[in-house]
């Protein structure tokens, strides 16, 4: 894909590089490598190392599995803009199986999957989108007559490593939200023992997927992961930490109602239930849709989509604190707390009155 820009005007044919069987302009390619270094939080000088690795290495085989999902991560991937999906993603990797976008269907499609699994055993990368239901033998998600669990065991089990894209494949996502009718879990839990990276988010950010693969190509290993298998470069900092509205937070300027003056001024969404302070994601720095915007920039609080079980624990999305378990939907922590304090005050008052009117006994000493 070419744009008529300053970049493309001054390019002679010698400044093209061959990536796989495609040619891209050297300039675009270096831009991509620099961007990847930035996403990976590496110094800019690493762009050269990355470029070398991508140019020299054979494109890894990648298969993309879809289970209980909404195809949002596929959508997110197709919307990759820097690099575009056609420009780089298909050049960095060799995408051999992806139900939604591949041409073959039925038996043919399944065959291309099995070809990769057999011929590239231990060398290919499995990308999984969607949760795996375990209840009732996994019947709630079957492809070509096989359960998701069965497929995942074979495909992820034989891969060099697995990248779980989107919250569903990381920890179950919305499919596993209370009451989790299908017993949905993430891939890491469904297929124990595999090497995997979690790239949660609803959907995942394609820049992070590309960066993870680029890291693998460049350094030969996976990026450093946290206890939830998420790479630190993408999930090491809270949304709150790098949020552009943070200054308003520290100042004490909060949106109090949708559309109020503060909202129009772009103040902090904390009181509207923004979960940025407890959510780890690089949204504020990498952003979305070609780095045009991200939820908070668009005026909506963070819903902690990349945090485990956010549908249950980050709820309500428009309230600061979760509901107190065991109490009605209307009761907030503060209402319960105030009620508790009032009940205590009333109890003490009654006690005081009781003491005043109870017959005087011959009392002795006490202590506290």
């Amino acid at each position: 894909m070419k744009f008529l820009s300053d970049d493309s005007l001054d390019e002679g044919p010698e400044s093209m590089v061959a990536i796989g069987d495609k040619k891209v302009s050297r300039r675009d390619f270096m831009k991509f490598c620099t961007a990847m270094a930035a996403v990976l939080a590496l110094p800019e000088t690493f762009a050269g190392t990355i470029a070398e690795a991508i140019e020299k290495k054979q494109r890894p085989y990648v298969v993309w599995l879809e289970f209980q999902d909404c195809a949002g991560d596929s959508e997110s991937m197709l919307r990759a803009s820097k690099p575009t999906i056609s420009q780089i993603v298909l050049d960095v990797i060799s995408l051999d199986y992806h139900e939604t976008i591949m041409a073959p269907s039925g038996k043919q499609a399944e065959k291309s999957l099995m070809d990769v699994v057999k011929n590239q055993k231990g060398k290919y990368i499995a990308i999984v989108e969607g949760a795996i239901p375990l209840k009732d033998g996994g019947v709630y998600c079957c492809i070509g007559g096989r359960t998701a669990l069965d497929i995942a065991k074979e495909v992820c089990g034989n891969a060099a490593f697995t990248i779980n894209v989107g919250s569903c494949s990381c920890w179950g996502g919305i499919a596993s939200a209370n009451p989790n009718p299908t017993g949905a879990v993430g891939v890491g839990e469904a297929v124990p023992g595999i090497t995997y990276v979690n790239l949660p988010g609803c959907p995942m950010n394609v820049e992070n997927v590309t960066a993870t693969i680029v890291h693998y190509l460049t350094f030969g290993n996976l990026p450093v992961l946290d206890s939830r298998h998420r790479p630190y470069f993408a999930h090491g900092k809270t949304v709150h930490e790098n949020c552009e509205r943070r200054a308003h937070y520290d100042a004490g300027q909060f949106v109090r109602q949708w559309g109020d003056e503060g909202h129009r001024q772009g103040w902090c969404l904390y009181e509207m239930g923004c979960k940025g302070p407890v959510a780890h994601f690089n949204c504020p720095s990498v952003r979305w849709n070609g780095a045009t915007s991200w939820p908070v920039q668009g005026g909506h609080g963070c819903i902690a989509c990349a945090s485990d079980h956010n549908w249950d624990v980050a709820y309500p999305f428009y309230g600061r604190l979760p509901k107190v378990p065991g109490f009605g939907i209307e009761s907030t922590a503060d209402k319960i707390g105030a009620g508790l304090a009032a009940a205590t005050a009333a109890g003490l008052l009654v006690h005081g009155i009781g003491r005043a009117i109870s017959p005087k006994k011959d009392k002795e000493e006490g202590g506290e």
Partner: protein, 220 residues
Amino acid sequence: MKYERGRVYTWEFPVRFTHWINFLCVLALSVTGYYVGRPFIHAYSSTQYIMGWMRFIHFVAAYAFLMSIIIRLYWSLVGNKHACICEWLPFTGEKLKRVADDIKCYLFLSKSSCHVGHTALGGLTYLLLFLVFLFEVFSGFALYSVNHSGVIWALLGGWLKSIMELSTIRLYHHLFMYVILVFAMVHVYIAWFSDSRDKTGLMGSIFTGYKFIAEKDMKQ
């Protein structure tokens, strides 16, 4: 009252000192913590730093509170017998019976008996309160560790994040403030109640350290 009373040095200086440090810390922590949970003052200009200061005070008070707890625990080891936190433990048959007696006496069902130190029920309350304090400290540092990575924060509370979700930690950190508030109300009321009933100088004792105990109860 008809008994001779002796002046007994009950609460040693570190006990009183940490009591009042705790009081100040809990007050500061509750006000600023409530603000962090529900910002009740709004800035009119972005050059203000209200949330910033609230959080700063909250963190400083949190450290002071932790130090106070550490001093108190140390004094539990080296102080007099009323300072020992073993006094709080109700796990003997005799102690449990005294807890029941104390409850009866607060409900006007029986006469009170006197103690130089804590009553059994009071001790049990402090044990529970201490656990609440510990939870507040750990959960507080767990929340703090979100933006401060390091071994210290991991030890002081970061480990909690592997057991509980952050938003759940935040909820309980907030809810227990109310438990402490309720405790404070009951604490002051009962102290006043016991003092005015038994005339042991209980209210003054947390300032001076001395209680006035009838001779016949001295052995306790």
